[in-house]
Symmetry: D4
Subunit: 249 residues, 8 copies
Amino acid sequence: MTNDALTRLLEDIRDGKVTVEHGADRLRDLPYMDLGHTKFDLHRPLRNGFPEVIYGEGKTPEQVGEIFTRMGDHTNILATRVSAEMAEHVLRVCPDAEHNAAGRTLTLTRTPVEYRDGEIAIVTAGTSDLPVAEEALDTCRMLGSHASIVCDVGVAGIHRLLERVEQLRKARVIIVIAGMEGALASVVGGLVSQPIIAVPTSVGYGASFSGLSALLGMLTSCASGVSVVNIDNGFGAACAACKINNLGS
Amino acid sequence: MTNDALTRLLEDIRDGKVTVEHGADRLRDLPYMDLGHTKFDLHRPLRNGFPEVIYGEGKTPEQVGEIFTRMGDHTNILATRVSAEMAEHVLRVCPDAEHNAAGRTLTLTRTPVEYRDGEIAIVTAGTSDLPVAEEALDTCRMLGSHASIVCDVGVAGIHRLLERVEQLRKARVIIVIAGMEGALASVVGGLVSQPIIAVPTSVGYGASFSGLSALLGMLTSCASGVSVVNIDNGFGAACAACKINNLGS
Amino acid sequence: MTNDALTRLLEDIRDGKVTVEHGADRLRDLPYMDLGHTKFDLHRPLRNGFPEVIYGEGKTPEQVGEIFTRMGDHTNILATRVSAEMAEHVLRVCPDAEHNAAGRTLTLTRTPVEYRDGEIAIVTAGTSDLPVAEEALDTCRMLGSHASIVCDVGVAGIHRLLERVEQLRKARVIIVIAGMEGALASVVGGLVSQPIIAVPTSVGYGASFSGLSALLGMLTSCASGVSVVNIDNGFGAACAACKINNLGS
Amino acid sequence: MTNDALTRLLEDIRDGKVTVEHGADRLRDLPYMDLGHTKFDLHRPLRNGFPEVIYGEGKTPEQVGEIFTRMGDHTNILATRVSAEMAEHVLRVCPDAEHNAAGRTLTLTRTPVEYRDGEIAIVTAGTSDLPVAEEALDTCRMLGSHASIVCDVGVAGIHRLLERVEQLRKARVIIVIAGMEGALASVVGGLVSQPIIAVPTSVGYGASFSGLSALLGMLTSCASGVSVVNIDNGFGAACAACKINNLGS
Amino acid sequence: MTNDALTRLLEDIRDGKVTVEHGADRLRDLPYMDLGHTKFDLHRPLRNGFPEVIYGEGKTPEQVGEIFTRMGDHTNILATRVSAEMAEHVLRVCPDAEHNAAGRTLTLTRTPVEYRDGEIAIVTAGTSDLPVAEEALDTCRMLGSHASIVCDVGVAGIHRLLERVEQLRKARVIIVIAGMEGALASVVGGLVSQPIIAVPTSVGYGASFSGLSALLGMLTSCASGVSVVNIDNGFGAACAACKINNLGS
Amino acid sequence: MTNDALTRLLEDIRDGKVTVEHGADRLRDLPYMDLGHTKFDLHRPLRNGFPEVIYGEGKTPEQVGEIFTRMGDHTNILATRVSAEMAEHVLRVCPDAEHNAAGRTLTLTRTPVEYRDGEIAIVTAGTSDLPVAEEALDTCRMLGSHASIVCDVGVAGIHRLLERVEQLRKARVIIVIAGMEGALASVVGGLVSQPIIAVPTSVGYGASFSGLSALLGMLTSCASGVSVVNIDNGFGAACAACKINNLGS
Amino acid sequence: MTNDALTRLLEDIRDGKVTVEHGADRLRDLPYMDLGHTKFDLHRPLRNGFPEVIYGEGKTPEQVGEIFTRMGDHTNILATRVSAEMAEHVLRVCPDAEHNAAGRTLTLTRTPVEYRDGEIAIVTAGTSDLPVAEEALDTCRMLGSHASIVCDVGVAGIHRLLERVEQLRKARVIIVIAGMEGALASVVGGLVSQPIIAVPTSVGYGASFSGLSALLGMLTSCASGVSVVNIDNGFGAACAACKINNLGS
Amino acid sequence: MTNDALTRLLEDIRDGKVTVEHGADRLRDLPYMDLGHTKFDLHRPLRNGFPEVIYGEGKTPEQVGEIFTRMGDHTNILATRVSAEMAEHVLRVCPDAEHNAAGRTLTLTRTPVEYRDGEIAIVTAGTSDLPVAEEALDTCRMLGSHASIVCDVGVAGIHRLLERVEQLRKARVIIVIAGMEGALASVVGGLVSQPIIAVPTSVGYGASFSGLSALLGMLTSCASGVSVVNIDNGFGAACAACKINNLGS
């Protein structure tokens, strides 16, 4: 479906030629539009509840810059895995974008995000896990969920975590981010009753095998109700958490 | 905490010596009781919303039978990974238990389960994935969520799946179960907007490496909002799905 | 066999001292000639139907340049995995060569390629897979098969792919290129009846393990008729596809 | 789509209410029918050119027997990975079926298979690879391709293979089956110009790692035009080979 | 060195021809004696402080029985990984031996073990880890260290563990035994200051990969002072713990 | 607990308002204080007997410098995995720190370390293992244990090791550091009776797989009483060794 | 080449029609003969210096029995990996064969083996490695090399090995067989100057990963001149050792 | 043993105070001397027949330079894995050294090498394997064996190899060097009867997994008499080959 077709459909809805219900049905099944070198799912906000998302790794600063300038009139944008050079270029061509260096994200908020009730708690084992946590935080923010980070509560100092349990119990969904042995997911899972999304990180060395150790640890967690996303995938964990948070509203 | 202590606490609550709110607080932090060779978290229903759960593998029929007879007066029970011999023995000593041979589960329902609104859809790629699906189904049932299985809609015949999309969109949470390449999670993830819990199965041979292929495929899924549990872990997926479903009620 | 011997054989054929049939028989079993630091199978066009192929990785720009200048009078050349520096050098010493930066290839077309009937469709899951697709495209072109790329039709947006199915059904062979979970091969395999060559790519991170995830996914594909080549091996996939395409002419 | 719907469509075609072209279009996109515990793609012969195929592993003899008795009136059947017990049961309930113990297959030929031109050569490295070769042979036979086995020509005795090269060059497609180091695919690939489908087998011990060694060896083959299927997957290799052979007819 | 030579040396020491100090020096460097199909380090008690140890796996009941009958006059014996059949045979030929079915050990105590001060705490995550714990317990007992098991205190119910912390702090060395994600080692390591020997177990399924998950988790533990032995190696952990305990006496 | 709370507690102890015994009890269970971007366990010296430890990898020179300047008044500091740039910066802002380039450590000794009796021997297979050995050496020094390095006594020249056995027997604990096949741990374990902590290193190439080979070799060591820490983890080995050494004092 | 052709060639040599030198040349390049279900390289003794060798695993007792009865008139035979049932059957049909239960071999000696000078020493780390050592011993014997086993000299008791060094130095080639960490190869390699063939065995558990640990350890051995064969491959090690021993005669 | 002690021993032998036989015995068991930061086995030429060998990786140019200047008066030297910078520095401080850039070696020949009879053939699959071959060549040269390289005879062009078989049969030992699938070792092993040392190389990409594919392929080779060294270990293969070649002289 071309961009024109989409426009016509929306005009038809506006003009009453197509009922909203019917229009929503059609939109839900519409694929994408082709804006040049990349295809975008303009209707994705309807289908998945997401703004446009750009995975920065493997793209040139120019490519990402062009997406921001061309798409930025239609939709909010979240770019992840953004290098310093990429951020610099995008901010030059699209000064309204915001850069979170710690989380390696760029965001553009054309339409104010409508926040739902409920909060997502993002828990990290150590300070080295913060980039993944920040990526998750920005993703939650762009997808309309309140979120906050509880940092540096790894299991080797269990007291730090126990002090924060009450805070965690107030969240609707919990994202647990940990590298090395990834034990934090199991411990949190035994202390709270909320759904938990676990994110293994590549933090560690030697037998960490770039996050494999934490990944296996989280998958074999003895705590029930823990599910896992890819290594370092703060974005994916936030997507899953927001979809869950949306249910409760 | 001993069983007696638990009893006293509950009596105190009954007698008004402890407010319900305070009692709930204490119970949430109470550990377990020791009934002999195994320790049970009697307060787990409060903390996690779960009945007592027994993982059958590595236990003898006699051990499981004893748990059913001793615990069966206090609580509902769900036993998973139950062998045929184990089931036969337990049904003899605890005739009220029910055996699901396909799902390798034994259940005992002392207190009628209270069902919440919302349904969980359990989708499988092939008929060989059914044991895992049945385990998930029984787990949902015991945890108070309606669930149903959509079977044999693997991606090699994408039409089968597309026919069922409307049905899937009515569920609040979707569990996707697939072996071999595990691609079903990605495809379903691109078609619906609900939270998805993916379960890789050990179905396959050769380069399936006992489920590793499906596991990696689901973890690296290009669809957002998919989180993953351990290979063949239908129970864990259902736990996660029910916790999510509970949020929406 | 030396280059001279080859020359004499061809002269003998020309002069009628050796029949064409006999000459072809001898040529088919002749090995190679030694042009200095590298040996070339001059008769390879007869045996395999291929032009001279150079794998650029691990060679110096000078070595590749020398091959172009010395071999370029006898035969067409396809060089793959060509770095920017290598391309620059070769274009300087052999200005007739063409550089495809996206596909990291250099080609030299001394003799116009004779194209066969039938077309090869090259399908990619995402834009990051394009370098592999371009390498496959140039290889097809040099081996005498028409080919075209269908880009960015990954399974997380299945509609994009379904829209292109009719186009795919017109091809004689399909090359499917995908990283991450590699599910595209299974889905395409369920939609069309042509032979499919699947190419896993190293696109992804974490549990992608540099393409291992996609590789295992494609090998265990539930779709029949899918065969697989090495990670990122667009060249090899095109070789296989062209050999297949040649059969139908 | 139910079985009835299929019947009606075919009757409509017969009665001229639906043109053949239109009917073929509809059939191509029709999904499957549900005969009880398993769903079958009745139109699969049209879409993929295949008879009904049953993967025996993980099914009970009774389940497979029921498929043979219920489906056997409509279509030819090929069952793979059939155990001795399963074969015995099926032959009792469906005496027209044929059992190939070496290849672990059961076949039922209701409609005589129409053979295409061209032959597929199935080459094995050792006698231990024969079960996989026989599975491939029966699959070719049921899919309408002539095929024959060239056995025990492993690379450690290269003379055996060289003696058979002329025979291999007469085939249109070659399936190479080898365990241990899987080198046969590379050597055959260097001797002939046909498309080659390589099947690693789990033959070997120790560092063979159940076929991993042969799988990696075939994927990294230095011969171009070799593509690979899953370990021990004689059926899949034959499917790919037959699809290729079909192109040439 | 033969058995005779050992005897003569000991006689010389007894008769004053060799001083005790000199004799000890020589003994420390003496190798072994050859009693037939197996060689024994008779001086091992001096060098390593250990009784004779037999690893039962891969030996026949008869072989183990012969060792008990022939060695049992000279030394205490500890046999591990003893099958039921093996135990039955040994008890028949050597009725003084004791069988611990849970720990799969056989012990023979000719000389009363002299216990040192200090206790070793053996902590397990779940009841399935008990066989490894029992093996460690019997090993400690035979090597002269008091030990006791703290069972079923896995991290998913952190309260159970916290209740036992005071008890753990009284031990001189702690052995932590856990399967699945092995997180217990990290949590205990953060709560106590004693040396910790961690034993991963093969308890679990799927991504546990027969103990690999727990092994990696323990090796990458964020708690300092944790060292690790082989999967299921209760014996080795006890050896290490006893050597440590010996230092403190 | 905030830094203030800690101060108040210590003042109360000083002023006699809290007994030492009670104060120690409270401190043991106190968690940490939050000095800005990083949280520190100020009471860790009490609980674990350790100074403050900083893992340099993944931190900026400025972050580490700030820790040294702010924490350096309260406690001794050990920083590991310190790059040359990081060391240069820290020495500028905290001139009292000492840099060990070979061991990649920075140390700050505000309070003189009190050394216990007993020595730790650090044995390395080759000179390439020295950075790990130096890290262990500095860690021992900061934790109050005498230690010395026995270098370059790999098993391929067993005589070198045998010459040093008497020296090793005088140590209370032995740390064995080796890459490649890691055999040194087994050989030392057979020669001495002390507890042994083995450290696999990433020294080697090819089948060393970045230390995996040495890691597996040490875990499966046929010598009893050997326990293992993560690859290249000289710090962790020293922690374990010092905890053990502390027992004997 | 058929059996007849071979016979004729040998008769021609006998009758002087073909010189021995020419005959040997032809034989060296002759492939094999086909005696039914298996092909044999009758000239292999000439080319490789080997008797006929049968790998028993995966063959039926009947198949092996037939080879012994049909081939046993022409040549000596060595069968490896022979099960008890297979041995029983072969001894019944070919009573001249000899069974070595420990080494799982069957041998038939029609022509007395001519022994060369020089001896091969076969060294094992433990008694569990004996089956592999016995397989190597019988292979050496059938290939014409004297050999003997030095058993149970693992590195954890280095004195046992040092006592035997003089004996090892008298051998021309040394085969070192070890499981677990496989360190014996490195230690022997540092003590002697002969060529060493190392055989990792699958002896061990847990992190031995079925011999992977020993395999990696031997490949990364710090001793020079060590080369390695497949896990448990006593036969292959003996082949290599005999080829080496042959050089010296 | 210090350098002085060695000198004295040699003087004693010279002066007749120690017989040659006795002196050789002592020397064989003497360990090493300590020249500063590295220890050298001065007697290694006697024990192993090797010159001093330096593994350059992980050493600084200065360290290697010092070894050349200090050791270079006593012995021949072979340095492997030498970087360009290292070579430049060493040649400056020790102008008599020779640099082989292709093989990354530095050699110093103080005493003319005495060559033994017999030649070692070094066979490579492709030109990318040449660095490993050159390292092997220089090692052979320094150890006293004639050697030559047969290059670029990979199995995908089997004719190239067959042309060289006669040449290979003249060697006493054959080193086969190949990356990717490593099939060359099997094919050569089937064509010749000499001992074969196989060297897998890290040449390749994707499923080559840095040489793992070739390593596994060579270990599971169906040709007997092939033994394997570490990935890219041309030095080790040459050591093994020279030890074998020495036997035949």
